[in-house]
């Protein structure tokens, strides 16, 4: 099992450690609900060093990225970040990712930990036709996500660059905590605001200490991956292996907004998805909330009122900020419209739920 540079730090803080995506990671420190609420109200720090990073550079970089990702990379400019997908050429998704436009002809891709090897093989294979300069730097890079309404205020103390006024989904390469060339972005997976910070492994402990020292007056706390999952689910953000995987396209998963059918962009599965849009989706991702008591979980069956199979739960939790049980499901398209009554089969009982628009948490 792999570990991040912060393993001992987490253990000293009393974290409960588990294996996640092949890494030994903190699932919680004081408790998922308390940590979740802390991020919504103040500021918390997630070790997300397990995430993967690829660099894509040179004159062929844009052509490669336009072909292998669903979003329109030409819409980026230096300093802008974009959420995107790698369609898999077979009506599915290899992974979802962030594309950072660091500078002209200089991109950083941030991919899921569980998919680093698969993604790297995929990008390398596709690049044979393009010849961009690509590198997998995942093992050298650590990352902290500092999230919450006080996050930028706290982090501003560690840099002369203006970060507090940065627009959502933008990035700067800055001197941070005295360390040059740190990639700082106003991104995250919580819907609480804040930033994500990328740095070399050898600088990691110094960054951690500086972040916690700067955040002390804001009651900054370490947050585990348990709360990361409940926070992202309240926002309806997709998690690979749950809402999206190699059996669903972005347009079926509610990710039409990052799938750009524009003339100047040819990309993998473009025609496949145009065909789905014209002739009907195979399934659709929908959010739902429980009407009757119960907690939906991954892989629970979804039925109509007569008990007929209409879909499958992809995520479910009790949401600490919304104080109700919610989930996502892949449904037959005719049941995905919000306001549809559906039933979740929980321990052989049909428990009533209703499809709703996401996000569940509306701030």
């Amino acid at each position: 099992m792999k570990q991040t540079v912060f393993k001992e730090t987490h253990e000293k803080l009393g974290a409960k450690m588990v294996e996640f995506a092949g890494f030994y990671m903190p699932i919680q420190y004081e408790g998922v609900s308390a940590e979740h609420l802390h991020v919504r109200s103040k500021v918390g720090v997630f070790d997300v060093s397990h995430m993967g990073e690829f660099t894509v550079k040179g004159p062929k970089a844009l052509d490669l990225l336009q072909y292998i990702t669903s979003n329109d990379v030409a819409a980026l400019f230096p300093g802008k970040v974009q959420y995107s997908c790698f369609p898999n050429g077979n009506g599915g998704i290899v992974d979802d990712l962030l594309v950072y436009n660091i500078a002209e002809n200089d991109y950083l891709l941030v991919v899921n930990a569980a998919n680093i090897d698969k993604d790297w093989a995929w990008v390398s294979k596709q690049n044979e036709k393009f010849g961009a300069e690509i590198a997998n730097i995942s093992d050298n890079i650590s990352q902290l996500a500092v999230q919450g309404p006080l996050a930028l205020k706290a982090m501003q103390k560690l840099t002369d660059a203006n970060v507090i006024d940065m627009e959502y989904y933008t990035t700067k390469t800055i001197t941070f905590a005295g360390i040059p060339n740190i990639v700082f972005s106003t991104t995250g997976y919580t819907g609480a605001g804040g930033c994500e910070i990328y740095f070399k492994n050898e600088d990691a402990l110094k960054v951690w200490d500086a972040v916690f020292e700067a955040g002390k007056e804001f009651d900054i706390k370490p947050i585990g991956l348990g709360a990361r999952d409940t926070l992202r689910l309240e926002m309806g953000f997709c998690l690979y292996g749950h809402e999206i995987d190699d059996t669903i396209t972005p347009v079926e998963a509610g990710l039409g907004w990052i799938t750009k059918f524009v003339d100047h962009k040819n990309f993998i599965d473009k025609d496949f998805m145009l065909n789905l849009k014209a002739n009907g989706m195979r399934k659709k991702l929908a959010g739902f909330e429980m009407v009757e008591r119960g907690i939906p979980r991954l892989e629970y069956e979804v039925c109509d009122a007569e008990g007929n199979h209409i879909g499958i739960v992809r995520s479910g939790t009790f949401g600490p900020s919304i104080n109700k049980s919610v989930g996502t499901a892949w449904l037959k398209p005719e049941f995905a419209k919000s306001g549809t009554e559906i039933y979740i089969k929980i321990r052989e009982k049909l428990v009533k739920a209703v499809t709703v628009k996401m996000p569940f948490y509306k701030g």
Partner: protein, 125 residues
């Protein structure tokens, strides 16, 4: 963790408090801590008579779900309705206010086979 000496413990991490031929059943602080924040108790067996180790309900935490097993056979008389409004009581006070069901014990001698506090302490290490 301080384990009450007047309780019996099962290797499924339930506790049993005998009171004549009725008993209270809950989960141990160790179990509650392992589960994390408890958000829902699904108890569907009130009025049923179950054997020892039969499932009498389910506990849902934020991240996990776990079956609840009766440590001894008996009739499920009552569910602690206070847990409907505030299931987190189990995390805060597992051995008192956090009791889950009250049962009429079929054979009180079955309780003798359960662990006492010292044995359970050794069991969880």
């Amino acid at each position: 963790m301080n384990l009450p000496a007047n309780l019996k413990y099962s290797n499924d991490h339930e506790w049993l408090k005998m009171d004549g031929d009725v008993a209270y059943v809950g989960i141990t602080a160790f179990a509650a801590n392992e589960l994390g924040d408890i958000v829902f108790l699904d108890i569907t067996t009130v009025g049923e008579t179950l054997e020892a180790n039969e499932v009498f309900g389910t506990v849902e935490a934020v991240k996990t779900v776990s079956d609840l097993m009766l440590p001894v056979g008996g009739e499920v008389l009552e569910f602690n309705e206070a847990l409907n409004d505030n299931p987190g009581i189990i995390n805060n006070d597992p051995y008192n206010e956090g009791w889950i069901v009250k049962i009429k014990v079929t054979n009180p001698a079955e309780a003798d086979a359960l662990m006492d506090a010292a044995a359970y302490q050794a069991f969880i290490g």
